[in-house]
């Protein structure tokens, strides 16, 4: 079965991102296809390249990146949500005159159309933090 996930909350302040990640791992380990993970609203912090995790808690941006690389999962951060929260790639940093890019490698910035496409292409779409 083809799945996509909608992740809406910050990985550092809410449980739902880690729940989404654990669900994603179970999906691919069970032989399902995970087509896309779409980070929306505060969920775009899952796509940060600059977060620093110092304690025992999971480093979700790194975990998502590793999952995407291992299983060819498409990670997309909503560009509207991401710009407001300072999650930007080099192109947006140049466009808005910001001193750094903060989007993690392996994740793309794109519009809500990518979530719509995931809804069309997937048998199931699960919303975390809705």
């Amino acid at each position: 079965m083809i799945f996509s996930l909608l992740v809406q909350e910050s990985p550092s302040s809410r449980q739902s991102s880690y729940s989404a990640y654990r669900f994603a791992r179970e999906l691919v380990d069970s032989g399902h296809e995970l087509f896309r993970v779409f980070f929306f609203r505060d969920g775009v912090h899952n796509a940060s390249a600059l977060n620093c995790v110092t304690g025992p808690e999971p480093d979700l941006p790194r975990l998502w990146q590793e999952l995407a690389e291992a299983h060819r999962v498409d990670l997309v951060a909503c560009v509207g949500s991401a710009l407001r929260r300072g999650i930007i790639d080099a192109g947006e940093a140049a466009r808005y005159g910001r001193p750094a890019a903060s989007l993690r490698t392996g994740c793309d910035l794109s519009g809500l159309g990518q979530l719509v496409e995931a809804c069309i292409r997937s048998d199931r779409v699960l919303s975390f933090g809705g």
Binding site: R41, G111, L112, L115, V116, C119, I120, R124, G130
Partner: protein, 113 residues
């Protein structure tokens, strides 16, 4: 799409409406179901200007333009807030518990924002 949050005080409803309109713009058959405090966004004559940058009233008025085919409201949520169907715009459909279950069953995907 399911929305349960109060219309002001967080960006959640704005983002939910953006997504509903994106789904409609890509010609997906989409219904917007409002439960709990989200039903308050349907009330006419909102004036949030002292509180927030933009009224949701115009955004919600644009839903049909963007292809959102149905706006649905939970009857129980309305009753708990002292509201009736007559307080809402005419094109809103009010659903009881059994109809809610039927609505969820009828849709291929349910997205909660």
């Amino acid at each position: 799409m399911l929305c349960r949050s109060a219309p002001y005080g967080s960006s959640r409803v704005r983002d939910a409406l953006d997504l509903a309109m994106a789904l409609g713009a890509f010609e997906q058959a989409v219904s917007l179901l409002l439960m709990d405090d989200a039903v308050l966004m349907l009330l006419p004559d909102q004036d949030p200007s002292p509180a927030v940058s933009k009224s949701l009233l115009k955004v919600s008025g644009a839903l049909e333009t963007f292809g959102v085919s149905a706006v649905l409201a939970d009857a129980d949520a309305l009753a708990k807030r002292g509201l009736a169907a007559t307080d809402l715009p005419e094109d809103v459909t009010v659903l009881g518990t059994a109809e809610l279950a039927e609505t969820f069953a009828r849709h291929r995907l349910v997205l909660s924002v």
